[in-house]
Amino acid sequence: MTPFRYERASDIAGACEAAARPMARFIAGGTNLVDLMKLQIETPAQLVDITRLPLDGIEETGEGGLRIGALVTNSAAAVDLRIRRRYPLLAQAILAGASTQLRNKATTGGNLLQRTRCPYFYDTTKPCNKRVPGSGCAALAGINRMNAVLGVSDNCIAAHPSDMAVAMAALDAQVETISLDGARRTIPIDSLYRRPGNTPSIETVLGPGELITSVLLPPPPAGRQVYRKVRDRASFAFALVSVAAIVDLDNDRVRAARVAFGGLSYKPWRSAEAEAALAGAAATRASFDAAGIAALRNARGYGHNDFKIPLAHRTLRATLAQAAGLA
């Protein structure tokens, strides 16, 4: 770890001001940042500890949704009965990620902002445009089986590793932030992450010192919610592919469906194409296959991760069948 100055924030305005300084970073759970600092992938000159800020509550919104404070731990969110009963998708996704020890530390805001687990991002002896802009992407011709197949560029094929964010994307969650000047904004989770394009080191739309204060869940949509994760071992592994699906049936037809993928892109990948294919369709294997084809039409493999495309198709089919009560 390179040396850094430590500052414990006592209020939100002070936290934003401190974190807006050059080379300063917020720290909450630290489960990702401390690891990256040990490897000197992250080398902040200052850490702004926000864990004492009053952002650790889960409250009802007037509209029948929930507001989850940015410092609510992943464990606290997954244990909350309102989330387990009304948003089981979110509890399932959180519980599919990491281990209890990590979920006890990891926070809602930090989970959204965790960095990719691309092996070349972690290997400081290899080029990585995300770590060292302009150095190249070693994953393109490397061992890229964990990397993305949708929405990425030849400058970076890193996948976002979160499970929680995939469920939140399917639930139309919004991220609430506060900026250095006190301005608040509400960002749909789908708009939080920036396409890698030519600047994969810039991962979100957040400005310097802008702090995530909470995640807003709108009232739960009609339909059955299912999160399904496929990984190399039964527990404590990142997703190869995951699917968050919500299926609302009208007898044997799909009235409306929501689909989001994990492990396939730089962000939780909500598929409007799959949802359009499913709306009004018969709840059958053929319809689920058509949704998969629509969702993955623009997917591109990079060699070792080619398998993710058919795996995503099958995982979607199985998840939709389960959400439709057919499996």
Binding site: R5, Y6, G30, T31, S75, L95, A98, T100, N104, S235
Partner: protein
């Protein structure tokens, strides 16, 4: 809990192999921790993890450094009753917290029930992961009693029975390279079923 509160103040802890010149301009941070019922105060380089603080400055070497990157679980301790990986926690961020390590589980010479169950079931071979396994298991039983679901729970809105599949899932943050897993599960099951703490 505070049995003879000892305040241990170390003004300048030994350096961890970092060049002194880099740190000279950086202030150390004053940290107060309650560890196994005793109060400790120390000035630390803010880079110091809880694990390193325990092992290097408080000579509590029961918590082990395995991977040092949050994957193996050998460093698992309880902070304010919750299990965490101490290798990924900065000590300075835990100022004022209550910490329990493997050294703090036995009471008055009596092994904690989980320690006794691990011995009874031969739930280890080399023993390196065992302190982390036991701290993790103690928290697991408390979490289950509090109704926490897991990835192995069919309906997350319910509080599931503690089956072997539930125990395995809930212990997936602790690796045992000797693969003593069946006996670890048996030890945890026994403690959970007997309703002991």
């Amino acid at each position: 809990m505070t049995s003879g509160a000892v305040t241990l103040t170390l003004a300048s802890p030994p350096a961890l192999g970092e060049p002194a010149v880099e740190t000279a301009s950086l202030p150390s941070e004053h940290v107060t921790l309650t560890i196994n019922g005793r109060l400790y105060a120390i000035d630390l380089d803010p880079r110091t993890t809880l694990l390193d603080a325990l092992r290097e400055y408080f000579t509590l070497t029961g918590s082990k450094k395995g991977c040092d990157q949050g994957q193996c679980g050998a460093c698992t301790i309880l902070v304010n009753g919750q299990r965490i990986k101490s290798c990924l926690a900065l000590a300075v961020m835990h100022d004022g917290d209550e910490i329990t390590t493997i050294e703090g589980l036995a009471e008055e010479g009596e092994l904690h029930p989980m320690q006794a169950a691990f011995v009874h079931h031969d739930a280890f071979q080399c023993g390196y992961c065992t302190p982390g396994q036991i701290c993790s298991a103690v928290a697991l039983v408390a979490e289950h009693r509090a109704g926490w679901p897991s990835h192995a729970t069919a309906d997350v809105a319910t509080a599931p029975a503690l089956t072997d599949a539930e125990i395995a899932e809930r212990m997936s943050g602790n690796i045992c390279r000797c693969a003593a897993y069946p006996n670890i599960v048996a030890a945890i099951r026994e403690v959970a079923e007997e309703g002991r703490p």
